[in-house]
């Protein structure tokens, strides 16, 4: 795309090049530099196509004028560099958050427009329109296709990490045994791995990857075989994925040594403390409260304060935690009511707990969570 300057054309050309590769490589064997081969083939394909129509002829002349010496020498890391550029184009702050997510899944994740539409519960024509509009803006406003310079990197990396995190959570929110949900979670982890490999100097990229790995590791124990939710304190920790945990812990340790903390690294460290313990009773809750204090200093939001209060309940008891929770204005957020329900029931205030669980169930969108919350409300006679 850096060469072609046209996102649709580049996308089509790369797809054609992959198709050609699939036909030829099994017969002719792998080329010495498969990545470079794809880029070169895609570029040649695109140039062939441009030659076939008049608009293309004009574009080719412009490209010739812009770039008198097209690179003929074999490129060393063309595919990885090109993908990194594409991440920053798709997640440019001049695009809406919805458009960033949709473009990332479509162009980097390779999901079809229909799949992206299903993932975000919008009709396919709406999603197609969103993608067309975003691509038109990229072209018309000349959103650049390059890795930002060092002085702008921090600001530009933040929306990229936010998009990947959003993709993971969109997948996780879909509940157990949901193919699209699984696809989104795996895609988010794949993108985080790619970014971590390409930007090894950025501790928040590593932090995001570790956070996703340590969240994903606990996923097998999060639902019963019939699909209902299991809370952390009741989870069978033998079902956690040890290899993901080890990988996540190694990254968190590297982040601690580097000592340039950020919100994703602190959240990953919290995940590391949880996955370090054999049970809720042996969990180092003091450490978790301290990490939430740190996170709250970095991102002072009511949601962080709520999660901190959940840890406070384990250190200072449910009454102290409830006093904090009741000051948070999170009435439309179902975990707020679920947390109140839990703390109230631990304090023996069953009627109020039942009401809180009912409110939480009415707000929850994931059927497994809604099922759990409804059951708790019933048990408490709410």
């Amino acid at each position: 795309m850096r060469v072609l300057g046209d996102i649709d054309l580049a996308e089509d050309a790369v797809q054609e090049a992959f198709a050609t590769a699939l036909r030829r490589w099994p017969v002719e064997g792998l080329p010495a530099n498969p990545g470079g081969w794809i880029t070169t083939t895609a570029r040649n394909r695109a140039i062939d196509r441009l030659r076939r129509d008049a608009r293309g002829q004009e574009l080719l002349r412009e490209m010739g004028a812009l770039n008198p010496n097209p690179p003929d020498e074999p490129e060393v890391h063309p595919v990885t560099d090109d993908r990194l550029r594409l991440v920053f184009t798709c997640c440019h702050p001049a695009l809406s958050t919805e458009a960033r997510v949709a473009l990332t899944l479509r162009l980097l994740g390779g999901l079809s427009t229909a799949e992206v539409a299903r993932a975000f519960l919008v009709p396919e024509p709406t999603m197609a329109q969103r993608l067309v509009r975003a691509k038109r803006k990229i072209k018309a406003a000349r959103i650049p296709y390059r890795i930002p310079a060092d002085h702008e990197l921090a600001g530009r990396l933040r929306p990229v990490l936010a998009v990947i995190y959003l993709v993971y959570n969109a997948g996780a929110d879909r509940g157990p045994r949901d193919d699209i949900g699984t696809q989104l979670r795996h895609e988010a982890i794949r993108l985080a791995r790619l970014l971590a490999a390409l930007m090894a100097d950025e501790p928040e990229v590593a932090g995001l990857l570790a956070l996703l790995l340590l969240t994903e590791a606990r996923r097998p124990a999060r639902y019963t075989p019939d699909g209902s939710l299991v809370l952390l304190r009741e989870q069978d920790r033998r079902r956690w994925d040890r290899s993901l945990i080890e990988e996540g812990h190694a990254i968190v340790r590297a982040c601690l040594r580097r000592d340039r903390p950020g919100p994703f690294q602190v959240q990953a460290a919290i995940g590391a403390v949880h996955t370090d313990a054999g049970s809720v009773q042996t969990t180092d809750w003091g450490q978790i409260v301290a990490l939430y204090d740190h996170l709250h200093a970095l991102t002072p939001t009511p949601v962080v304060a709520l999660n901190r209060a959940i840890a406070v309940a384990e250190v200072a008891g449910p009454a102290a935690a409830l006093a904090v929770v009741d000051t948070l204005g999170l009435d439309g957020y179902h975990p707020f009511h679920a947390t109140r329900g839990d703390l109230l029931s631990r304090l023996g205030r069953h009627d109020q707990a039942g009401q809180a669980y009912q409110r939480a169930a009415a707000l929850a969108s994931n059927p497994a969570e809604r099922g759990y919350l409804t059951r708790r409300a019933r048990e408490l006679g709410g």
């Binding site: 412009e62 004028a65 001049a94 406003a141 000349r142 959103i143 650049p144």
Partner: protein, 122 residues
């Protein structure tokens, strides 16, 4: 190279405390230095500051075959915020244009809309 319109949006609410003569002078001074920078880098194509929006007049076609014109007082859009001034600049890409917009907004404290011209990129 592409061309962009940087429009400065101002309204009664965006002003806050009326600036002192000294602050006005300082802003003007910094703006003229920025304009020198725009010009010496080759980015500047045109710029201008507009009179108050209530000095605008709208002309539209009227009559059965559109031969007549209807002239009305006031700006076209019923809005509290109006374009107070603008720059037309040439930039390599959107990031370069946003960079100039950030410099302008830092001086005048009002938001800037950055909009590409259609079909002018080379």
């Amino acid at each position: 190279m592409a061309h962009y319109l940087l429009s400065v949006h101002t309204g009664p609410g965006s002003a806050g405390e009326p600036p002192t003569a000294e602050q006005m002078q300082d802003t003007m001074h910094r703006m003229s230095r920025l304009e020198d920078e725009l010009k010496s880098s080759g980015a500047w194509l045109f710029s201008g500051r507009l009179a108050e929006a209530d000095t605008a007049t709208v002309v539209r076609g009227a009559g059965p075959d559109g031969t007549d014109v209807l002239t009305t007082d006031g700006p076209y859009l019923e809005s509290k915020e109006h374009i107070g001034g603008f720059y037309v600049i040439a930039a390599d890409d959107l990031d370069a244009a946003l960079g100039w917009a950030a410099k302008v907004t830092a001086i005048i404290g009002a938001p800037i809309e950055v909009r590409p011209f259609a079909g002018l990129s080379t």
